[in-house]
Amino acid sequence: MKILEIQDLNVKFTTPIGEVYAVNNASFSLNANETLALVGETGCGKSVIANTIIRLLPQNAEISGNIFYKGNNLLKMSDREMEKTRQQEIAIIFQNPTLSLNPLYKIGDQISEPLLVHKKINKKEAFTKTKKLLKTMGFQNPSKFTGMYPHQLSGGMNQRVLLSISLTLNPSIIIADEPTKGLDNELVRDIIEEFKTVNKINNSSLLLITHDLSIARELSDRIIIMYSGDIVEITKTESFFKNPLHPYSKILLNSLPERGFNPPKGNSPSMVNIPKGCKFHPRCPHKKKICSEKTPPIYSIDEGDVRCYLFQ
């Protein structure tokens, strides 16, 4: 069952150096109980998609297309309705856990805040729930941590606090924007375990945004590869790692340490002067004449969807 459906999403930013096309004609859907990984290099538009879904993009963003959540178009909702949807239906976890928390408020208050704002329950009940959540997220002594401030906890602990916050209202969708960015390997393992816990206790769908293929492999059911604002491939995670379709996906996989650590040649294109046609063609080993002339459409084949003329 599709719980979130994105159709022809375009996001454009007007900046002093020119217009930036951050997301172009993106269409995909998220099923109930599914973990969908959105993978790509820095600056390819992954986070922009996340912020578009919960409508927290800056003022200079121009959005077109549709985002249907359980049949309602999120882009057409009133601000009031959107406020009710955030956190209750769709929760998000940002890249930097320590900066996401207000430095002047205690952890306990920040976790119970959504309960007090949306559910109007009393403070005592909210705190009982808060402590229960902290316990499931691996805090052995929750009563001690509710009275602490974000600066007194490590980045990994704050990440778990954010996970607890995202679980307070049992949302249908949790968006995790680079949850492992800047964490060391040990902590990345912990975070992966915690996401597995989240999946177990909460039957919500997870949109996992990451540049780390190993996390995507561990957690996701399906995988979306983005390149410079375009979705280039959507496949099942299992088949992606066996048989990637798009030339970019192949190169990306070869950059993994266990596959020889071969980084892709060249740089990802600037978002202002984008190459004509397929954006990947300057770096593509299989490029044909047509690649530099026209943007390829998405071709649906048995293994998945791919934006490349090789599958014409």
Binding site: I54, L56, Q59, R80, E83, K84, T85, R86, Q87, Q88, A91, I92, F94, N96, L99, S100, L101, N102, P103, L104, Y105, E113, P114, V117, H118, Y149, H151, Q152, I165
Partner: protein, 315 residues
């Protein structure tokens, strides 16, 4: 706990230095202290000069004078004013209450008004009506208080006759006091509000782009909840700092207003003491004002520790 005693020690040292300077500076002045005190127009016989020196303890050696000085400080004895004919401490105390009556309400009103208006304006910084408000506040902020006082006196007292121009020599009933105080407090509040408004607006604009604010929105809080539950507390920290740092500035603004409205406060006391070269009163006032400034700093320091846990954890 160790932190707190360190802080208290720091303030005590500051007071000690201020008081010692107050002892040293007059004694560094050229010429005879008695002539300094009484002015050069006074002609006195050598005997009465000597008598006065002994009475004031100026015949003792400097270290003994210094000890006597501290003895006086602890007994709240700042000397005798020949111009006002009374002990300095009681003169200052009787004038102080009027200055505080002007200062405290203005500081409170302006803190509430300025921070509320400033924070809403900061959140809606692109709206034209708030841009206009900022322009008006900027105009008030750039106008010296004495000039504002003169304009207000001209309009409300002289032209409209709503408030008394002067006559604050005696204190009548509460209504009479309020009548006299209305214009000075209004001007002081307007001036301080404009300052608080500008700082708060800038601070909110800086805070609102931070990630925790975006995250608060992502939690489903409305704009107003985001502003007053999250941004406000964080943005008010610079305002608090300035309240302490600028205490002297605030006080001098109040002193000007007092002089223009001929009120019986510290402002006029210092003004008269300056004109009549009444040094004991000047030194006494200087000390009281420095104590008030140090206390204001200590108070803000204490508040800061409560509001921002990162401060009390470090240092």
């Amino acid at each position: 706990m160790k932190m707190r005693s360190k802080k208290i020690a720091r303030y005590l040292i500051a007071l000690f230095v201020i008081f010692s300077l107050n002892f040293i500076i007059p004694r560094l002045m050229p010429g005879d202290p008695i002539t300094n005190l009484l002015g050069e127009d006074y002609v006195m016989t050598e005997e009465s000069l000597q008598e006065l020196r002994e009475k004031m303890g100026l015949d003792e050696s400097l270290p003994i004078q210094y000890l006597n000085y501290w003895n006086g400080v602890f007994r709240f004895d700042f000397g005798y004013s020949y111009h006002f004919k009374g002990p300095v401490s009681s003169i200052i105390l009787s004038r102080m209450k009027w200055t505080l009556l002007l200062l405290i309400p203005s500081i409170l009103f302006s803190a509430i008004l300025g921070s509320l208006m400033g924070s809403i304006s900061g959140q809606k910084s692109s709206s034209n009506s708030y841009k206009t408000l900022t322009l008006i506040e900027l105009a008030f902020y750039s106008t010296p208080t004495f000039f504002l006082s003169l304009i207000f006196l001209y309009i409300f007292s002289f032209k409209l006759g709503l408030f008394p121009i002067k006559g604050f020599y005696y204190s009548g009933g509460i209504l009479d006091i309020l009548h006299h105080f209305f214009l000075p407090i209004s001007i002081m509040t307007i001036f301080l509000t404009s300052r608080n408004y500008m700082i708060m607006r800038g601070s909110v604009i800086q805070e609102k782009s931070k990630l925790y604010v975006v995250y608060a929105k992502a939690k489903g809080l409305s704009d107003r909840q985001v502003l007053f539950k999250h941004i406000f507390k964080n943005a008010s920290l610079p305002l608090l700092t300035l309240l302490a740092l600028d205490f002297g500035f605030i006080l001098s603004g109040a002193l000007f207003i007092e002089i223009i409205f001929s009120m019986n406060g510290m402002g006029n006391l210092i003004y008269e003491a300056l004109l009549s070269r009444d040094y004991p009163v000047l030194y006494g006032s200087f000390m009281i004002i420095s104590i008030m400034a140090v206390l204001a700093n200590a108070f803000v320091d204490f508040l800061y520790g409560i509001i921002d846990p990162r401060i009390s954890d470090s240092v």
